[in-house]
Structure formats: structure tokens, C-alpha cells
């Protein structure tokens, strides 16, 4: 039943943009039909997903498919269902937001194309998470990856957008190449391309190679540092609801792939878990450090995706280590933490990207240092961003705390219990996670403060207006979900139990509700929230007759101006310097040379170290070295025929 519902969702989502493509450029009917179809798809997906999470034995939907090695096999097992739910919730909200954000009448030239490709991305993702055949999986994967290229390059008249799009295309091609190799190895080990055929524990020397290829292929999609190079540009330059979908859902497909492939191995070597924890720590710490250095709001959010993928990888690594050590508690805590964080990050990151999109829509700029004081003109958007910011920092009373607590508990148990050498991973990752939490607070206070608080820093905010209802409603739903998981943890987290059990291949020895203090955390969150409300009401009543309409005191300084405020760059300056060994910030030099110095300008910038200092120079060097090979390739058919003749003659002579 739920398989058919997912098929319906795939068809509805994939076809959602067709009406818009067929219709004229000006009509608004196409966009409404697309949003409606997306909501219908989301409804089907949600029902199917929750049925898969709660239901018993999942059914397998099969059909023959005349493709070599291919077979039409779909299944909604609990692990797939988790991702189906996530896709089906966020994709319709994004398309509703798009009605206001990218209205057809404002963007007649590319609106229809954007909606069509958006639907294809969603269809591809739904297909790949339920596919049970390698060829079908790759079809879904490629549909998602290529349609995502089209959505990223919506504004392809801009140079930055084109560059981000091509970079994404190169990266995703490389990732797919790795996946082809990985499935090839699995085929070599088992003789089949069906997922079922792999579900026996495969003990072959190829297992390590499969894991490395999965790490490359899926890690590239997920944006694990140092494979994240495509991510910041693509997220920053896509329309904001597409960024929300990509950051909230699309990169999680890499996590799904990693979870699916690692579930095949009953006894993974310990180095798998160590590798994932190590990569997770690097991604989390450097992701948030790079985010601190950004002054483009959407780029900042994009680097936070790298950070959160790191936290998810730490959880997955703990689960793998638990499996290697034969400790069920570590498996349950690590995997539940990783999967819940996958959900959570989807919710709050989509919320943050949507509210950032409203800011961009209202002011026309993503530059933090040109914004400020927007919470007056856009109070609801400011509140939405604040909820997302508190949630992503893992602070009570919201959802981020629950998943981070699960991961922390896994790490502390790794150090505390009998775990041989694996304690080192816990001893490294727990303080790193604390560092990440503190850095995330620094970064989001900076982002929230410079955009919404204080005084406007430029004229960009003059005409700013609150977002429309179709843009605010999705943000409201996402914020409510953040509160729901934070305050309702004892109800939500046990939903993950079947997924954890299906990953580990055995029912949970101890239910998740007993492994982690879910009830206590929910009580803690609720009491903090209630106490803040009470005390806040008291203070508001107490200060009702406050003297207003005075300037900031500022120690009595007579003429403070908005340009004297701390900017996002100055706020993060000390931290960026502490991390300068990795960030390598660039700043123009300012030096006073004479008594009456002329006007001066100052710029600072944090480039992506991996992309701008390693990969691009490396490619350029390779281009120079290998350039002489072009001598052979002249583009002349005669010459190529000559090569063929020469080769044949050489072969004849040699034999």
C-alpha cells in the first residue's frame, strides 16, 4: 500500500511543473497547479512514510524493467520511510513559499523552468530512497542531481550563478562515478544488483573499497569536508526555497546512502567508525569556522550545513563503532542521534533559508554588513529566524538539543564503557562537539544580530517589508515542528526505533526511551520556556511605563551612528584569527603613512581553503602540465583517421 502511495507521490511531484511549461509565460495557473500537485505528493508521501515508520513488515513492489541489470523494485522500510517523511514535509512547504518568493509574474522568463526542475528533484529523491535495485537507485540519483543543476542555475544570466552551477555539475559527476564503481564492486562480490541480494553479510576484501567509494560518492553529495567544495556556492546562488530544499533534504540523500550501505555489513572493521567520527569532527569544526568568516547570509547558512553533516557523521560513526564492538547501546544512541539530527537539520535549516530568502526578497541583498534593524519591519521573519538560530545551536527548548544529546550520550558512553581503543574517538569528538556548539552560538548571534537587530547599516533596508502569507506560513509550520520535536521528544524519538532496528538487523535490546532521558529533556525545555514567559511577562509589566524615544546611551557618546556598529566581520574577527591556520582570511592592509591620511578602504574575505587554495590551483597546474596533450587533439577528422590507421599499422607490425 505505502509503496503505491510513494509511486503516486513520485509521479505527482515529477509532473507538477508540466502544466506551467505548457502554459503561457504570464499565467499564474501553472504555479498554483504545481503547488497543489506538490502538496498532493507531499500528502501521499507523508502517509506512506508514517505508515512505513509505524507499520510492520514492509512490502516489496516489483515489476520487470527491460534495462540491463535493472528491475523495478520499491520498498518503504523504516529507514527509507524516515527520509520519505522528510522530503514530503519540506518539498511542499518550499513550493508554497515559491508562490510568493518566485512568483510567475515577477519571473516570467525562468519561473516555469524552476518549478518543473524543482518537481523533478523531489521525484528523484523520493525514487532513490525507496529503490531496491542499483540501476533504479542510480536513475533516481541522477534525476535528482541533474534537475538540481537546473534549479541552481535558475538565474543563469549571472556569472556567479553559472560558476556555482558548473562546479556543482563537476562535483556531482565525480560523485556518481564513485557510485558506479561502488555498485560495480558490490555486483562483483554478490553477483546481483538487487539490494536484497546484498543483505547477507559480505565478508570480502572488497568491503573496504566499497566503504571508501561510498564515503567519496555519498560524502560528496552530503558535503563532508573536504568534499564540500560545491556546496557553499550552490546553496548561496540558488533561489532560497531551492536552497532550503537542497540544504534541508537533498544533501541528506548522501547520509541515506551511507546509512544504507553501512547497514549491509554486520561486522565492520573499527576503522570505518573512526574514519566517520574523524571526518565528522573535521566537517563540524571547520564548517562552523568557515561560516563565522562569511558575510554573505546564505553562504554562512551553507557552511552550517557542512557543520551539521559533520554532527550526523559523528553519530553514524558512533553507531558503526558500536557495531564493531558489539555494543547495542552505542548503535542505538549513535544512529538515533544521526537520524534525528537529519530530520532536525532539515527542519531548522529550511526555516533559516526561507527566512533568509524573505530578507533577500525584501532588501535585495545577502550582504550582512549592509543589513540591520530588520526586526522592526519584519517582526515575524525575525522571530522565525530566531527560532531557527536557537534550534541549530542545539539550545533548549528546541529540537537540536535532543539529537545532539543523543550523540553526546553515545560519545560519553564510548569513553566511559568497555570500548578498547575506541575511547579515543569519544574523547576527541565530545569536546569538539562542545566547541562546535559554542562556535555555532557565536555565528548565529552574529547573523541574527547584524541582520535583525541594531540600526540599519545601509539604504538597502529602507523599503523592506514583511513577507507575504504564502511565505510566512511555511516558516510557521517549520518553526512549529522545531518546537514539537523539542518539547515532544518522548513521543517523537521512539518513532526512530524501527529504523535503528532495521539498520542493525536486530530488534532494539533497550527501547530508545530508556536509553536516553527523553522525558527529562522535554520537561527541562518546557520549564525553561514557561519560566522565561513568566519572568518576561513580569518584566514587561514592570517596565510598561519606561521612558522611550531616547538614543542608545553608549557611555554618553553624543553622536553614535549606524556605521559605528559592530559589523559581522568585526564581530567574528578574533575567532577568525584563532582559526586562521585553516581559514586563511584575506584582508587588505591599512596603514597610516602620514599625518593627514587620505580616504582609505578596507576589505576582508574568507575564501574556501579547499576550493580556492588547493583544487583550483591544482587544476590550473594540471592544465598547464597536460596542455601539450592538446597537440594530439586538433579537432580535424583527417587527423583522427590518421591515428586510427597508424594504430592499426603499428598493431599489425607488432604482432
Amino acid at each position: 500500500m505505502s509503496e503505491w502511495l510513494v509511486v503516486a507521490a513520485i509521479v505527482l511531484a515529477g509532473a507538477s511543473g508540466v502544466a506551467g511549461l505548457l502554459g503561457g509565460r504570464g499565467g499564474a495557473a501553472g504555479e498554483r497547479i504545481a503547488a497543489l500537485a506538490m502538496f498532493a505528493a507531499g500528502g501521499c508521501g507523508l502517509v506512506a512514510g508514517f505508515a512505513g515508520l509505524l507499520g510492520g513488515e514492509p512490502g516489496l513492489l516489483q515489476a520487470a524493467w527491460p534495462v540491463p541489470g535493472g528491475r523495478f523494485a520499491l520498498q518503504v522500510d523504516p529507514l527509507s520511510a524516515l527520509f520519505v517523511v522528510q522530503i514530503s514535509l519540506i518539498a511542499p512547504l518550499g513550493s508554497l513559499y515559491g508562490l510568493g518568493y518566485w512568483a510567475q509574474r515577477d519571473h516570467p522568463e525562468n519561473g516555469a523552468r524552476l518549478r518543473a526542475s524543482y518537481g523533478l528533484v523531489v521525484a528523484g529523491m523520493l525514487l532513490l530512497v525507496v529503490a531496491r535495485n542499483a540501476v533504479l537507485f542510480l536513475v533516481g540519483w541522477e534525476l535528482m542531481a541533474l534537475a538540481a543543476f537546473l534549479t541552481i542555475t535558475t538565474e543563469d544570466e549571472q556569472r556567479a550563478v553559472r560558476e556555482a552551477g558548473y562546479l556543482y555539475l563537476v562535483a556531482t559527476r565525480f560523485g556518481t562515478l564513485c557510485l558506479f564503481a561502488m555498485f560495480g564492486l558490490l555486483f562483483a562480490a554478490s553477483g546481483t544488483l538487487e539490494f536484497e541480494g546484498w543483505s547477507r553479510a559480505m565478508r570480502s576484501p572488497l568491503a573496504d573499497a566499497v566503504f571508501v567509494l561510498a564515503l567519496l560518492g555519498f560524502g560528496l553529495k552530503a558535503g563532508v569536508m573536504p568534499l564540500h567544495v560545491w556546496l557553499p556556492g550552490a546553496h548561496a546562488n540558488a533561489p532560497s526555497h531551492v536552497s532550503a530544499l537542497m540544504s534541508g533534504v537533498l544533501i541528506k540523500m548522501g547520509i541515506y546512502g551511507l546509512a544504507r550501505i553501512t547497514s549491509l555489513y554486520a561486522l565492520p572493521p573499527p576503522w570505518w567508525g573512526h574514519a566517520l567520527v574523524g571526518l565528522g569532527v573535521v566537517s563540524a569544526v571547520l564548517g562552523v569556522a568557515f561560516a563565522l568568516g562569511q558575510h554573505d547570509l546564505k553562504r554562512l547558512l551553507a557552511y552550517h550545513s557542512v557543520e551539521n553533516i559533520g554532527i550526523i557523521c559523528i553519530g553514524l560513526g558512533v553507531a558503526l563503532l558500536g557495531r564493531s564492538l558489539g555494543r547495542d547501546d552505542l548503535v542505538a544512541l549513535g544512529l538515533a542521534g544521526a537520524l534525528l539530527h537529519t530530520w532536525n537539520h532539515g527542519l531548522f535549516k529550511a526555516l533559516l533559508f526561507l527566512s533568509a530568502g524573505s530578507v533577500l526578497h525584501a532588501t535585495g541583498t545577502r550582504d550582512l554588513d549592509r543589513l540591520g534593524g530588520l526586526s522592526r519591519q519584519m517582526p515575524s521573519t525575525a522571530l522565525a529566524f530566531l527560532v531557527g538560530a536557537v534550534a541549530i545551536c542545539g539550545l533548549p527548548p528546541l529540537n537540536g538539543l535532543v539529537s545532539e544529546l543523543l550523540v553526546y550520550l553515545g560519545l560519553f558512553r564510548l569513553v566511559g564503557g568497555e570500548s578498547g581503543r575506541a575511547w579515543l574517538a569519544g574523547a576527541l569528538a565530545a569536546p569538539a562537539l562542545a566547541l562546535v556548539g559554542a562556535l555555532a552560538i557565536a555565528c548565529f548571534v552574529k547573523a541574527f544580530g547584524t541582520v535583525f537587530l541594531g540600526a540599519p547599516r545601509s539604504r538597502a533596508t529602507v523599503g523592506a517589508h514583511e513577507a507575504g502569507a504564502s511565505m510566512l506560513a511555511p516558516m510557521g509550520v517549520l518553526a512549529a515542528c522545531c518546537f514539537g520535536i523539542g518539547l515532544g521528544a518522548p513521543l517523537v524519538v521512539p518513532l526512530l526505533g524501527p529504523a535503528v532496528a532495521s539498520w542493525s538487523g536486530a530488534p532494539l535490546a533497550v527501547p530508545l526511551g530508556q536509553l536516553a532521558p527523553l522525558r527529562s529533556v522535554a520537561v527541562a525545555s518546557a520549564s525553561i520556556l514557561a519560566a522565561c514567559a513568566l519572568l518576561g511577562a513580569w518584566l514587561a509589566a514592570r517596565t510598561r511605563r519606561a521612558a522611550g524615544a531616547v538614543g542608545t546611551w553608549d557611555c554618553g557618546y553624543a553622536a553614535p551612528g549606524p556605521r559605528m556598529q559592530y559589523s559581522s566581520s568585526s564581530f567574528a574577527d578574533t575567532l577568525v584569527r584563532l582559526f586562521s591556520w585553516a581559514l586563511r582570511p584575506e584582508a587588505s592592509e591599512l596603514r597610516l603613512r602620514e599625518a593627514f591620511p587620505p580616504p582609505a578602504a578596507f576589505r576582508s574575505h574568507v575564501p574556501d581553503t579547499v576550493l580556492d587554495r588547493v583544487l583550483l590551483p591544482g587544476f590550473r597546474a594540471a592544465d598547464r602540465v597536460l596542455g601539450w596533450l592538446r597537440l594530439l587533439q586538433r579537432g580535424s577528422v583527417h587527423l583522427y583517421l590518421l591515428y586510427v590507421v597508424a594504430t592499426v599499422v603499428a598493431l599489425l607490425l607488432w604482432r
Binding site: G372, G373, S375, C393, P396, E404, L405, Y408, L409, F412, V415, G416, R421, W423, G426, A427, A430, P431, A434, L435, G437, A438, L439, I441, F444, V445, G449, L453, G454, P517, S520, V521, A524, I528, A531, C532, L535, G536, L539, R542, T543, A546, A547, G548, A549, G551, T552, W553, D554, C555, P560, M564, Q565, Y566, S570, F571, A572, T574, L575, L578
Partner: protein, 307 residues
């Protein structure tokens, strides 16, 4: 009986914190050869501030008023998670230390956001320093907690700071000593004490915590001062829990011993403030990294037994 102890716990948390400030200031006055303010001066200040009117800058929004509220609530909440003097906390569970640190993080988030809400360069500067130094203090704190978790075999503060610590001192004295020093550094930096920050200075450019709250006045400022005292109490109780592990043989004596240890710690903080100068801001990260390394050594010392 446990109800009585919970009531005492809540009472101590609500009443005692400003006294710590009084003890610190008396100690400093003693070193300077002054009489100093009365022991209860902090209470008088609070009462005076709560009675006053308020002035709010036209730049500010509701976030400015939320800062003090959230800071106080999260501080009090954290104090309820800590076991005091060997008595179990009123609210304790596995992993409560994570919730404690993240609750304080929520308070920091809103305090700094309130500072940025004024649109003043001074307060932005204070906020930037606050979040920067916390970034280095938090790994040190978690490394310390890792050592305590391993040494006491427990994943809740009730065990980490409970009677088990006494046994841990006997078997793993060196790691615990390292952690104690590291936690002391964390106490000083998180509460903006000398050598990291000077709570008495009136030169805005050098301050961290005080400069963030320059524009608050009246009841809001009262809440901030109270919240700062509660935060000092939380970290002091953490340090006392490690340094003076008290059993519950005589529960009433344990309360007395805990209070005495807490006040003694306040004297120690006062002595540190009297005999040290404030560090240059650029040297602060170095000291914090040293505190992290100290706790990391604690883990290595513990690990020597089980690899």
C-alpha cells in the same frame, strides 16, 4: 526527607549567590587595606534596582528585554541540575550536564543578542569577546566532564559530583587535580573575573560582561546582576563538587560544609583578583587553550590504565 533537602537546595540557589559577590569584594577590600562595602551590598543593590524605573533606547526591540530574562532563567535552571554538598539535585538525569551547558549557552545567546540590539559599538565589542572566550572555555569544560564521567563511572552530575568523587580522588588523584585547575579557569572566564575581565573597571574598552549590559537599567539591570551571581554560584558549586566531595552521612552537616566550601571558594576568587593583574585580551586564548590541555592530560592519565 528528600523534599526538605530539595527545598533547602532551591532556597540556597535563590538566596546565596549575591553573598558570594559580597565575600569576594570584602576579600579584595582586605587586601587593599580598605573597609569595603557591606557583606550584603549586592542584595541592597538588587533591591534598589528592582524598584527603579527604566529607560529603553529607541533602537532596541523586545530582544533587549529578553536578554536579562533568559539569562536569569537559564542560570537558575542550571543551578537546579547541580548536586550540592552530596545531596542529589532536585532534577537530575543521564546526560544532564549537556543540558546544563546548553542552557547556559541559551542565556549567552540572548545576552549577546540583547547587547547587539542597542546598535552600539561598545556593546558589540563586549558580545564578540563573550562568545569568543566561551568557545574556548566550553571544550575545557567538556574535557573535564569526560574525566569526571570516567572517574566516577556515571553519566549524570549526581554521580560526577556525588560521593563517588571521594573514591576517585583516592585512585585517580592526578587527573582530578588537573581537572580542578581547569574548571577553576573556566569559572573565572565564564564569570568574567580577573584575570580575564575586571567586573569593577569603568573603562569600557577593556571589559567583556559589563560592557554588554551598559544600556540596561532598572529592573532589567537587577535581573542581569542577579543572573551573573547565580552563574557564579553554578560554576562555584561545580568546582566545590570536585574539590570537596561530601558524603551524606550527616545530611545537615553536609549542607553546612558545602556552604562553608562555597564561601571559601569565593575567598579564593577574591585572593586571585587581589594578587593578579588582568591579562591582555590577546593572551586570554592562550590560557584557555592551556586549560583545555590540562583536562586533556587528565584524560590521558586516566587512559593509561585501560588501553
Amino acid at each position: 526527607m528528600p523534599i526538605v533537602h530539595s527545598v533547602i537546595h532551591v532556597g540556597l540557589v535563590l538566596v546565596l549567590p549575591p553573598l558570594l559577590l559580597g565575600v569576594i569584594n570584602k576579600t579584595k577590600a582586605l587586601f587593599a587595606g580598605r573597609v569595603g562595602p557591606p557583606w550584603l551590598q549586592a542584595y541592597y543593590d538588587l533591591l534598589k534596582l528592582l524598584r527603579k524605573g527604566s529607560v529603553f533606547s529607541r533602537t532596541t526591540t523586545w530582544v533587549f528585554r529578553a536578554g536579562p530574562v533568559v539569562a536569569l532563567v537559564t542560570g537558575l535552571f542550571a543551578a537546579l541540575l547541580l548536586p550540592l554538598g552530596g545531596h542529589a539535585a532536585p532534577f537530575g538525569f543521564e546526560g544532564d550536564f549537556v543540558v546544563l551547558v546548553y542552557a547556559l549557552g541559551l542565556g549567552r545567546f540572548f545576552t549577546v543578542a540583547a547587547a547587539l540590539d542597542t546598535g552600539s559599538a561598545f556593546e558589540g565589542k563586549g558580545g564578540a569577546r563573550e562568545v569568543t572566550f566561551s568557545c574556548l572555555a566550553e571544550p575545557a569544560l567538556f574535557l573535564g566532564l569526560l574525566v569526571l564521567a570516567r572517574a566516577s563511572g556515571s553519566l549524570s552530575l549526581g554521580g560526577m559530583l556525588g560521593p563517588e568523587v571521594l573514591g576517585a580522588w583516592a585512585s585517580d588523584g592526578a587527573p582530578l587535580a588537573a581537572v580542578l585547575v581547569s574548571l577553576m579557569v573556566v569559572l573565572l572566564v565564564e564569570n568574567s573575573r580577573i584575570p580575564f575581565d575586571d567586573p569593577n573597571t569603568h573603562l569600557e574598552l577593556t571589559m567583556i560582561h559589563e560592557v554588554m549590559v551598559l544600556d540596561h537599567g532598572g529592573p532589567a539591570l537587577g535581573l542581569i546582576h542577579y543572573a551573573a551571581a547565580v552563574k557564579l554560584f553554578v560554576f562555584a558549586a561545580l568546582v566545590v563538587g570536585v574539590a570537596v566531595p561530601l558524603g551524606t552521612a550527616d545530611p545537615w552537616l553536609a549542607w553546612l560544609g558545602f556552604t562553608a566550601a562555597l564561601l571559601a571558594l569565593a575567598v579564593v576568587v577574591g585572593v586571585i583578583e587581589s594578587i593578579m593583574a588582568r591579562l591582555r585580551l590577546l593572551q586570554v586564548p592562550t590560557l584557555l587553550v592551556a586549560a583545555c590541555l590540562l583536562s586533556a592530560f587528565g584524560i590521558v592519565l586516566l587512559a593509561r590504565e585501560w588501553t
